[in-house]
């Protein structure tokens, strides 16, 4: 397989396979969650659970309070750095928007590529910092499983290969681009079957927690 054939495959059949696995896998995961159901709350409510649940979906993106932020400062800084960086790279880089446009039929304005490049670097550095923490911090090391390292690598690779493609580092561009797309496909295939699902399910978690607390009159 030469580089052109490789690129053709990852852009065509490869991407299709990955997308199908990703979408069906995620649908199964969401069904698995919702089908478990939950009991109706019969206690007299103190507050509106629905508005509280919706509120918590947003407020949990920020620290609970100043002291909690101080105590978990490293995770907050690196966590924000990585997630914001990743969001900008995925959704505000011109070639990505073009791909989305070709798939969905609509797009939006992109950020200048050098700006996205900066966010890529922020995301890469943050991810490395989080890996270092995973390997060294007593709590995080204790909690970590092989899957945590696998999903770290699966997230790191698309960012790294994307960065290398843009800067034409070390390898021919078409191979780099092919590797970049392949690494994204790897990520998509892993996604529904690992804790990468949190990108979707965290909204469900926040909703339930916010709602259950809100019914008791607690802003969670």
């Amino acid at each position: 397989m030469n580089s052109a054939e490789f690129l053709l495959w990852v852009r065509g059949p490869g991407l299709n396979i990955a997308m199908v696995i990703f979408i069906i896998g995620m649908l199964i995961r969401l069904l698995e969650i919702f089908m478990l159901g939950r009991k109706q709350n019969l206690a007299e409510l103190r507050g509106n659970g629905i508005s509280a649940g919706l509120r918590t979906i947003f407020t949990r993106s920020t620290p609970a309070d100043k002291n909690s932020m101080r105590r978990s400062m490293f995770t907050f800084v690196a966590g924000y750095g990585f997630h914001i960086g990743l969001f900008v790279v995925i959704f505000l880089l011109m070639p990505h928007i073009q791909l989305i446009q070709s798939l969905l039929g609509f797009g939006w304005p992109a950020l200048p590529t050098p700006v996205v490049d900066l966010f890529t670097v922020i995301a890469l550095i943050s991810l490395m910092a989080l890996l270092w923490r995973r390997l060294t911090h007593p709590v995080v090391r204790y909690l970590s499983t092989p899957q945590d390292y696998l999903v770290w690598a699966a997230t790191f690779l698309p960012l790294l290969t994307g960065y290398m493609s843009y800067h034409h580092l070390w390898f021919p561009y078409s191979w780099l681009l092919g590797m970049h797309i392949l690494s994204v496909e790897f990520l998509l295939i892993l996604f529904p079957f690992t804790k990468l699902t949190h990108a979707f399910t965290l909204f469900i978690s926040r909703w339930y927690t916010g709602m259950m607390a809100g019914e008791k009159g607690v802003a969670s």
Partner: protein, 420 residues
């Protein structure tokens, strides 16, 4: 209760895995932030005490039973089944080193309600036969005698008589159609008899009718703490039946955190029906009396005071402003503890921890969080509204040779009532 076995434990655990739990386990990325919010971790530095780790057997069971990949892994023998030894080991983590205070649930960035799941994993671990001796004892006494500390009506009658002799106040038993059915915690009957007298004085001044049921005066619920819903239901039903028999408007939970949760929030769900009466914590009732102008106080406490928020009131009950409104009526020098209100740190003894003898060491270690908060504040008096917190605070302060009196808010208010 049927015989405790691993199979039963696993079965009960499975029954307690619901949609929120599945969403929570799907969302956790092992970031470790819950550890920073847990006093059992911060005061010991032991990573095993990280809140989410306390759920590991339940997480694996969820994965093996309720996810596609987990089921495939189980089928081909790639997954590690939950074992008897493991549940025994986890008993220490979920009973000794967790007060279900819910701080972790407030900080989790993906929004997991970890303490909600702890409540549920306790159901499985107790069904497997690994609940701590101390809690089993308390629960057995609650079922058989009517109180986890073995208090009977005799003790309460004696106390009522003493109050009548010393103050002339009548403690009304089994009156129908009154405003309030007052419940007590054993702790109050044994250690803080001031509470009952305070209630009698306050309601007399406010002109409210009230009663105690001789059939159900105990508010605490060991079934909730040990995690046996059948027993929790039985204990709650005694209160519900008494309230309905006496046709009261409101059932008043005493100065106790989990008793409030047990009746106010878990009660209707355990019984499977809505209540015909209201359930309020005594602090809520007092604040309503204040609002109606029925709580007339005089004299001001000048000593420097702070309030320890019982976790079950703030994080699980939404009672945050009420104690402050009340304190401000009688205290000029009230200062807030750091992280007060919704994010307050637990005393270290809630959720049944205080009933477990083997947990004494870690319980007093966990108290170091409160100790450093209090050292920082330098107050003369510590006020709270939970007798379980109060016992732990008194013991912790004693052990650490700190001379700060701990006072219950209700009795402090009663001391300031305008004499008629």
């Amino acid at each position: 209760m049927s015989k405790a076995t691993l199979d039963r434990g696993v079965q009960i655990l499975k029954e307690h895995i619901d949609a929120p739990t599945a969403a929570y386990f799907s969302s956790c990325v092992n970031c470790g932030m819950c550890a920073d919010a847990c006093l059992f971790y911060t005061e010991t530095g032991d990573p095993a005490y990280t809140p989410i780790n306390k759920l590991e057997p339940m997480r694996r069971l969820w994965e093996q039973e309720y996810t596609l990949v987990g089921r495939i892994k189980k089928l081909i023998g790639l997954s590690k089944p939950v074992t008897d030894e493991e549940l025994g080991e986890w008993s220490d983590l979920v009973y000794h080193a967790c007060s279900m205070c819910g701080r972790c649930s407030m900080v989790c960035p993906v929004g997991n309600d970890i303490s909600y799941m702890i409540r549920n994993i306790r159901e499985g671990i107790s069904a497997a036969g690994y609940a701590p001796e101390g809690l089993i004892g308390a629960t057995t006494r609650a079922v058989e005698i009517g109180s986890p500390m073995g208090i009977t009506m005799h003790a309460l009658n004696t106390q009522a008589r003493n109050i009548k002799e010393s103050s002339g106040l009548e403690i009304p038993f089994d009156r129908e159609g009154v405003d309030y059915l007052v419940l007590l915690s054993s702790m109050e009957v044994i250690n803080f008899p001031e509470y009952l007298e305070a209630i009698a004085r306050i309601f007399k001044q406010a002109g409210k009718s009230w009663t105690i049921s001789s059939e159900a005066f105990e508010a605490t619920n060991s079934g909730i703490q040990i995690g046996v819903s059948d027993i929790a239901r039985e204990l709650v039903s005694r209160v519900v039946e008494a309230a309905e028999k006496l046709k009261v408007k409101t059932v008043v939970s005493p100065e106790c955190g989990h008793a409030y949760t047990a009746i106010r929030w878990d009660g209707p769900n355990l019984m499977g029906r809505r209540f015909s009466f209201k359930v309020k914590h005594i602090i809520e009732v007092l604040d309503e009396l204040r609002e109606e102008g029925l709580l007339k106080v005089e004299g001001i406490e000048e000593s420097c005071m702070t309030f320890h928020d019982p976790c079950q009131l703030v994080r699980k009950g939404g009672v945050i402003e009420q104690p402050r409104n009340l304190l401000k009526m009688i205290a000029t020098n009230f200062v807030e503890m750091e992280d007060s209100g919704k994010m307050n740190w637990c005393c270290g003894a809630g959720g049944g921890v205080s009933a477990i003898e083997e947990a004494e060491g870690i319980r007093l270690k966990a108290f170091n969080r409160k100790k450093s908060q209090l050292e920082h504040l330098q107050v003369d008096t510590l006020v709270t509204a939970c007798s379980n917190c109060r016992i732990q605070l008194e013991e912790g302060l004693e052990v650490n040779e700190m001379d700060i009196p701990v006072v219950g808010l209700t009795e402090m208010l009663a001391d300031h009532l305008v004499e008629e």
